[in-house]
């Protein structure tokens, strides 16, 4: 009986100790949560508008002999690689004519639009490579002498000349490869090996009339 009483008494004393320690702990916890809650204010986070996305890719073919004969292949992807892209074709190639290709690659989600081709790709031409491909359409191409030097002694593929053959309808593809391990531009269109594709756009039903 006596010992029991004694125990209860000691327990009370111990409890006092424990509450003291608990207070300390809770205090420490409170302080720390205060610090974090102060540093992360309740303001809304800013949106991220990706800088390196490509929204607009436009291939403008201009007839050497007739500046009004223009074929435009345009791809628009408002959300860049995060969303759908839509391709539109304006104009037809004229059989037998020769065209200069002018490329435009931009990020229109920024204002003003960011010129990705001239600001990012061309300054790093040694690790980028444009290749082209056609199917069922009589188009041939060559990389111009003044085309920019790309990787491994290949031409980058931004300044090119295209020749439209006999009337036909088919598909035209443009691919931009980042850090290819090998490149071959002997056939004009170009073949990369390895690396990763930053662009792979196909325009269907392009006409030569």
């Amino acid at each position: 009986m006596n010992t029991n009483k004694l125990n209860i008494k000691t327990m009370k004393i111990n409890y006092l100790n424990i509450t003291k320690t608990t207070k300390l702990f809770v205090g420490a916890l409170f302080c720390l949560s205060l610090i974090t809650s102060c540093s992360s204010d309740d303001d809304n986070p800013p949106p991220v508008n990706p800088e390196e996305i490509i929204t607009n890719v436009t291939l403008t073919f201009t007839n050497n002999a007739d500046a009004t004969d223009i074929v435009t292949l345009a791809s628009v992807a408002p959300d860049g690689q995060d969303g759908t892209s839509t391709e539109t074709i304006t104009g037809n190639f004229t059989a037998g004519a020769t065209y200069d290709l002018s490329l435009a690659i931009t990020n229109a989600s920024e204002t003003p639009a960011d010129d990705v081709l001239n600001d990012d790709i061309i300054p790093e031409a040694d690790e980028h490579f444009f290749s082209y491909a056609v199917n069922n359409i009589n188009l041939t191409m060559t990389r111009d002498a003044d085309d920019i030097d790309g990787p491994n002694g290949s031409k980058l593929g931004v300044n090119t000349t295209w020749v439209a053959g006999a009337a036909s309808t088919g598909n035209v593809q443009i691919t931009l490869t980042h850090e290819p391990t090998a490149t071959d531009d002997t056939g004009g269109f170009g073949t990369p090996t390895g690396g990763s594709e930053d662009l792979n756009i196909t325009f269907n039903n392009v006409d030569i009339q």
Binding site: T3, N7, N44, P45, P47, V48, D82, G195
Partner: protein, 799 residues
């Protein structure tokens, strides 16, 4: 003369006796935690150099005491020796408490090697320091594969996540020194942030039986504990130095422990490891280097009645990810799968370029405990974790050095629990937990946030009880409630918002509108109940059976709720779903153990049914300016898993031992009848070990590891159209690689210098035959073979 001296002496002693040496001291010894009398304790009266023994009621009597101080040194088998002093100035009665059940109360600390299980009826395996030290140069995920039924899901060879019975990531809890790791564990390419060298013991608990740690461990719990404190005056340390031929790696790890008999202790541990590009049998695995730095310090005071500890650990890992795995489009993925060799192979280098990860993890904790007589023990703990994750992708221009992922996760946790152990036959624990978590996704990456900014609040309360019904039968049960609240600020592209149908269901959570995006404020509350019960029965000395049932609830993680974007390395879009409800798992398990001097067998079977099981599967395509991509979305279904794990050892002779570990598991989606993805295939390892203690404790073992082909897999292959030619190309992402068989050799010997210092030399050859293979559960298996032969040398100096 002689008589005179005797006479004086007698007179003197009479005189002193006549002072007041007539007092009696009556002592009563009882057990601290349950008050039972301590019988046959030895009491040494220091001043008189006399010994007496306590009687059947724990009582003892010392007569003819003079006034002054007496010091009693009380010792008893199984108790800590206790020294008490009293002032005597009259007859005195004292109750003295000593603790007789240190072992049962889990306070024993005789050696650092003692193993202590976390649970009674769960399927638990303990890995001890001797096993863990073999993995000093590797990581937690590799070490855990020592347990039958545990495998890993890898991204290359340095990012290794454990899988327990087919479950990984958010379905596993990992505790580091009683702190639940909060390190963005939802991601498959996020390896646990623990330095294996800081662990002295790891418990692997299959299923959710360890309710004190959390109620959402649908797969299991991994409890990592540092060295236990030895309560004596000692200073000891260990240094491990290792080198590996594959990757030209090295590792150094050192630990120093100081403790005092008063209970004070301090430990410090640090490790450094580095390797360059690994090598598959036929080629270099370019950009697979690793740099890792880690250290741990702790100090405190540990006594039976009370104690405290402060603990801090730091880990910094920089991990290169196979260069050839960087792909831009589905065509790239298709080409990589069809190529024999990775598309990028360079000469060996220690350089780590993008793609790579850089993760730092800080963990600080303070804990305190106190014991109360006839009651039990109260533990209090506060911990803080800071996880900073950078992922660097292959980028162009001046963004090259800006990470694509920059997440900072901070977590504060407060724990309090009470163990009532006054009655050792009926132990009861209860506890509460409060947690606050803040995730910050840095917008400076210039990449849309993969995981949004969020704040998370958790509260949990649990109780567990354990009954020793008879000497051979233990019954346990537990119940836990958890509340989780997640409050996020998430941006959605308007196109995605509509595609997901959120414009109908979640219209009111939009808080701001931007040209192409909505800022939303999703807030979710989850109430979760978990429970566990089981029994353990020792049929006789060599046969034991265990049954366990557990119920676990896991709320969806941030990735399952909020993902919406392109996962580069997988060339797919991954879409979460705000409508998800929690996963609920029911798991039944049974174990049978047979132990004899020659043969030991452990058989563990389980059946698990998971409702609302969340997983990713493809459902559509999207045509982007990088060509077509598959869309994968998280889905909920009902799933079942079942399996058997076997561990057997047979001592052929005293020196020769054979061991087998085998695991077999199946998992199915009950709605589609498809097998679950990422389920380990049947695997079996056989090991023959030769020991010769007389020869510097020499041992050598040959291990055969056989991993079968996974024949049951969900066919998520898809065809993409070559937009140019109209041809369809099959992208075979599902077909598992063929079976493989590897041999590993390991030898060690220990040379003693003095009684306390020795050197252990270990030589290993992994993949002895330099076999080329790919593992189905390595996410980079599409791109390259796994590791070739690796010769490792490790020196371990104990002092």
């Amino acid at each position: 003369m002689k008589q005179l001296i005797t006479a004086i002496a007698i007179a003197y002693s009479c005189f002193s006796y006549s002072q007041d040496c007539t007092y009696t001291f009556l002592g009563e010894l009882s057990d601290f935690h349950d008050g039972t009398p301590i019988v046959s304790a030895t009491i040494h009266i220091t001043e008189h150099d006399r010994y007496i023994v306590s009687d059947f009621n724990g009582k003892f009597k010392i007569e003819n005491l003079c006034s002054g101080t007496i010091t009693l040194k009380i010792s008893h088998v199984g108790c800590e020796t206790k020294v008490v002093s009293y002032e005597i100035d009259g007859d005195t009665h004292k109750s003295i408490q000593i603790e007789h059940h240190i072992e049962e109360l889990d306070e024993i600390s005789i050696t650092g090697e003692s193993s202590k299980k976390e649970t009674k009826t769960a399927q638990e395996t303990v890995l001890k320091a001797n096993t863990l030290k073999k993995y000093s140069a590797l990581n937690l995920g590799e070490a855990l594969k020592e347990v039958s039924g545990v495998s890993s899901i890898n991204t290359g060879n340095s990012i290794v996540k454990p899988i327990i019975n087919g479950m990984h990531s958010s379905r596993l809890l990992i505790l580091n020194n009683n702190v639940r790791l909060q390190d963005q564990e939802w991601g498959i390419e996020h390896a646990p942030n623990i330095d294996i060298n800081s662990a002295a013991q790891i418990s692997v608990i299959k299923g959710s039986g360890a309710l004190a740690y959390g109620g959402d461990a649908i797969g299991g719990v991994i409890v990592v504990n540092p060295n236990r404190v030895i309560k004596k005056d000692t200073l000891y340390g260990r240094t491990i130095i290792g080198g590996q031929s594959n990757g030209r790696g090295y590792n150094i790890s050192s630990t120093l422990n100081k403790s005092y008999s008063s209970g004070w202790f301090a430990n410090i541990q640090g490790s450094i490891k580095q390797n360059g590009d690994f090598k598959a049998p036929d080629y270099n695995l370019t950009n697979t280097g690793l740099k890792s730095h880690a250290f741990t310090v702790n100090a405190g005071k540990k006594r039976f009645e009370s104690g405290f500890e402060v603990f801090y650990s730091y880990l910094d890992n920089e991990i290169g990810i196979l260069g050839a795995s960087h792909i831009g489009s589905t065509f790239d993925l298709g080409r990589a799968i069809n190529l024999e060799q990775p598309s990028l192979i360079n000469d060996f280098s220690y350089d780590i370029n993008a793609p790579k990860q850089e993760v730092t993890h800080h963990l600080a904790k303070a804990s305190y405990y106190k014991r109360f007589k006839n009651f039990g023990k109260i533990n209090l703990q506060y911990d803080y974790q800071n996880n900073q994750r950078f992922e660097f992708d292959v980028r162009i221009g001046d963004r090259r050095n800006i990470p694509a992922v920059d997440l900072k996760l901070q977590t504060h946790t407060f724990l309090a629990d009470i163990n009532l152990d006054a009655n050792l036959n009926r132990k009861i624990n209860f506890g509460i937990m409060g947690r606050f978590q803040d995730n910050f996704a840095n917008p400076d990456t210039g990449v849309r946030r993969l995981i949004p900014d969020y704040e998370k609040y958790d509260f949990g309360a649990y109780t567990t009880a354990e009954w020793q019904i008879s000497d051979d039968l233990i019954f346990d049960a537990g119940l836990r409630y958890d509340f989780n609240r997640i409050d996020a600020k998430k941006f959605y592209l308007k196109s995605r918002w509509e595609e997901r149908g959120y414009d109908v269901d979640f219209l009111n959570i939009i808080i701001e509108e931007f040209p192409t995006q909505f800022l939303t404020n999703p807030v979710f509350n989850f109430h979760n109940i978990s429970a566990s019960t089981g029994l353990k029965y020792n049929i006789n000395d060599s046969n034991q059976i265990i049954f366990n049932y557990s119920l676990a609830s896991r709320p969806p993680n941030v990735s399952e709720l909020f993902s919406d974007g392109l996962h580069h390395s997988a060339a797919r879009f991954e879409l979460g779903n705000l409508r998800f409800d929690k996963e609920i798992a029911n798991r039944l398990s049974a174990s049978y153990a047979y132990n004899s001097s020659k043969f030991n067998l452990l058989t563990e079977v389980f059946y698990s049914r998971i409702n609302n099981f969340i997983y990713l599967r493809p459902f559509d395509f999207i045509l982007t300016n990088r060509g077509p991509f598959p869309l994968w979305q998280y889905q909920q279904t009902n799933a079942q898993l079942f399996g058997i794990d076997i561990t057997a050892t047979y001592n052929i002779t005293d020196a020769l031992q054979w061991q087998n570990k085998t695991a077999f598991i199946k998992g199915y989606d009950l709605e589609t009848d498809l097998p679950l993805i990422d389920i380990p295939s049947f695997n079996t390892t056989n090991q023959v070990t030769y020991n010769n203690e007389a020869w510097y404790n020499f041992s050598t073992s040959l291990k055969s590891e056989w991993v079968f082909k996974q024949n049951e897999f969900p066919d998520f292959n898809f065809e993409i159209e070559d937009q140019l030619t109209g041809e369809m190309t099959l992208i075979d992402i599902s077909t598992p690689p063929p079976a493989y068989h590897l041999l590993h050799l390991y030898s060690e010997a220990t040379f003693s210098f003095t009684e306390k210092s020795n050197l252990k030399v270990a030589l290993g050859i992994n993949n002895l035959l330099n076999t080329s293979y790919r593992n189905n559960l390595n996410r980079l298996r599409y791109f390259a073979d796994d590791l070739g032969r690796n010769i490792t040398l490790q020196l371990e100096l104990n002092y």
